[in-house]
């Protein structure tokens, strides 16, 4: 008898590996990737474990090729994935646009590092705009999930596959080098993989049916417009159903930090420290960056005196926060571009400084 694997074991894992294990447990059948720091452990994890599970792994010749291999595997109906870090994700934008245009489900993981250009290898959140505003050419969106712990890296990878199949769209997990490299104990996903829906569009060979094609090209009169309207309908549906956020200590809260990913993780500690000093602080953390949880944030905006957006960039989510709160509350910003991770005391002093301006108001 085959030995039963222990259910939901607690294991110590690195973020990059937790993504890989999540993908395997989500039923990822094909992984294609190209080495880049700080996500190399993920590609190496897949090289070892995908092959052990009898699944497909290829170290591609480039990120352009990797994402096109994902395109092919997804077109053939397989659960497919690729991962990279910022410069490599720029190359993948071509294929991501094609995936969106052809309505193919796929998972892309970006373990961000500082830019622009070759930038550096330190953690960053500088690809927010690229991830949530489209990224490649054309009028499209990817669903973007923002993990803030190794557990999230694992769970959100599983969730990304579910969402990709649910909406026939590419889904991005937007992590950063800090999350990729850190180790934490996590509970492994132990349920069966999210069910794969029927794929009546997949290319499997035209056995006893009409031939099919997968394409993003619509040349006939009005065809592309119609196709774009369909895409937009899907995006509207996603916007209605999928925005997710987490709020901590936002009841009886005067000053809320709005932060995602690594910054949100640091902010969790900062608001506790602030409360200990008598400052009524809270945290608003978007879990989905697209769709952005605007409604929840707007509701919170009516309850606080000011919002402090903290990001490891020069102010990107900041713009979505400003749009969401519609001038109902002052929005301050504290940014760390170029690969710097703020410390708790950095963030705490930014928060106290902001609060001082509102004292007595």
């Amino acid at each position: 008898m085959a030995q039963q694997k222990p259910i939901s074991p607690r294991v110590l894992m690195m973020g990059n590996e937790a993504v890989g294990e999540g993908a395997i447990r989500a039923g990822c059948q094909c992984y294609f990737g190209y080495p880049i720091t700080p996500q190399n452990e993920l590609t190496a994890y897949m090289a070892k474990h995908m092959l052990e599970h009898g699944r497909v792994f290829i170290q591609s010749e480039s990120e352009l090729a990797a994402i096109s291999m994902v395109f092919g595997a997804a077109a053939a109906g397989a659960r497919a994935m690729t991962s990279s870090s910022s410069p490599g994700i720029s190359l993948k934008q071509e294929g991501i646009s094609y995936l969106a245009g052809a309505r193919l489900p796929a998972v892309i993981v970006n373990v961000q590092r500082g830019g622009p250009g070759l930038g550096g290898i330190d953690p960053s959140q500088c690809d927010y705009f690229q991830a949530v505003k489209g990224g490649g050419h054309g009028d499209y969106h990817c669903i973007v999930l923002a993990p803030a712990s190794v557990q999230d890296m694992h769970d959100m990878t599983v969730e990304a596959f579910r969402l990709a199949d649910r909406y026939r769209t590419p889904v991005m997990v937007l992590a950063d080098g800090r999350l990729g490299q850190m180790m934490e104990p996590i509970t492994l996903y132990a349920a069966p993989p999210p069910p794969v829906p029927a794929k009546p569009w997949a290319l499997t060979g035209a056995t006893k049916r009409e031939a099919r094609n997968i394409r993003s090209l619509f040349m006939a009169e009005g065809g592309l417009e119609k196709h774009n309207i369909i895409l937009q309908e899907v995006y509207q549906q996603i916007k209605r159903t999928e925005p997710r956020s987490e709020e901590i200590l936002t009841e009886n809260c005067d000053y809320a930090i709005a932060a995602w990913g690594t910054c949100a993780r640091i902010a969790k500690e900062v608001i506790q420290k602030a409360r200990a000093q008598g400052l009524r602080a809270g945290l608003f953390r978007p879990i989905t960056l697209w769709p952005f949880p605007s409604e929840s944030l707007l509701a919170l905006a009516g309850k606080v005196k000011a919002l402090l957006v903290v990001e490891m960039n020069a102010g990107q989510m900041l713009e979505d926060v400003q749009l969401a709160v519609k001038d109902r509350v002052p929005v301050h910003f504290s940014g760390y571009p170029g690969g710097r991770v703020p410390t708790t005391s950095n963030m705490l002093s930014a928060l106290t400084l902001m609060a001082q301006q509102f004292r007595g108001l």
Partner: protein, 263 residues
């Protein structure tokens, strides 16, 4: 001997001598008169019929004049971004190893923007068939210079003719791929007349049969007329293929059963 009496057409009025391959749709092709693409489509469709593989074949169409190949071939077909057809074909074949997978690509697609994907799919020995339509120009975008444009050939982007010193000489892809270890079969044929069509069919049959037998990477280059951007009549274009292209791109088998054949 075909005397008037026993000429095949006389034996029975109903006897079918030639017909549209079942794997070819009835859609009028958008290709220009005398274009090689339509002939290669037909040959491919005939082979899908003859080898009985239409229902398990998945093709990858290029970005180029053959971008709409899925309107003409009755097998499943995927689009690929410009140049990425070999990578898309790799993804399909790895996901579904028992299907027959081909990519169909022009010279700009395969040997310029997609050269990396071309070389690495060949080097991995992907069990796919790559059909390379070399017409020396970028047909779809207006006949610009391609990696295979002949020295001295005039195009909108080399209006004084291709200068090998600043633009490089034409790239011979079969010869280049033949330096790799993994390809199983590489052949170049020329669509320079009816014999060329038969040669193309024979080469493609060898390639597809090898794939059916899981032998590995197969590559067929077809020197193909583009009358529109050769700025010649269809008949003159065939002559151009024969007299101008073949001397630069010699036809023949370069790799057979995994073994390089040196001329």
């Amino acid at each position: 001997m075909n005397t008037k009496k026993n000429h095949p057409a006389r034996r029975s009025k109903k006897q079918m001598l030639y017909q549209r391959p079942k794997s070819l749709t009835n859609v009028p092709m958008h290709y220009c008169a005398g274009c090689g693409h339509s002939l290669i489509h037909k040959v491919l469709a005939e082979l899908m019929d003859e080898l009985g593989i239409r229902e398990r074949t998945i093709g990858v169409a290029p970005v180029g004049c053959a971008v709409l190949a899925y309107f003409y071939l009755k097998c499943d077909i995927s689009e690929a971004a410009h140049g990425r057809a070999a990578a898309v074909a790799t993804g399909i074949k790895r996901a579904l190893p028992d299907r027959i997978v081909f990519s169909y690509q022009g010279d700009g697609d395969l040997a310029a923007i997609g050269m990396a994907e071309t070389v690495h799919a060949a080097n991995r020995g992907e069990n796919i068939t790559v059909i390379f339509v070399n017409n020396t120009v970028y047909g779809m975008t207006g006949g610009q210079m391609a990696p295979t444009t002949l020295v001295g050939q005039i195009t909108p982007t080399c209006p004084k003719g291709r200068d090998p010193l600043t633009m490089g000489p034409p790239i011979r892809v079969c010869e280049l791929l033949n330096t790799l270890d993994r390809p199983y079969y590489i052949e170049r044929v020329a669509l320079d007349g009816p014999q060329g069509v038969l040669a193309a069919k024979r080469a493609l049959r060898t390639a597809l049969t090898a794939q059916i037998d899981n032998k590995g990477y197969t590559f067929v280059e077809v020197l193909s007329p583009c009358p529109t951007y050769f700025r010649l009549s269809p008949i003159e274009s065939l002559r151009f293929v024969k007299e101008s292209m073949v001397p630069v791109f010699p036809v023949g088998v370069f790799r057979k059963e995994g073994v390089a054949i040196h001329a």
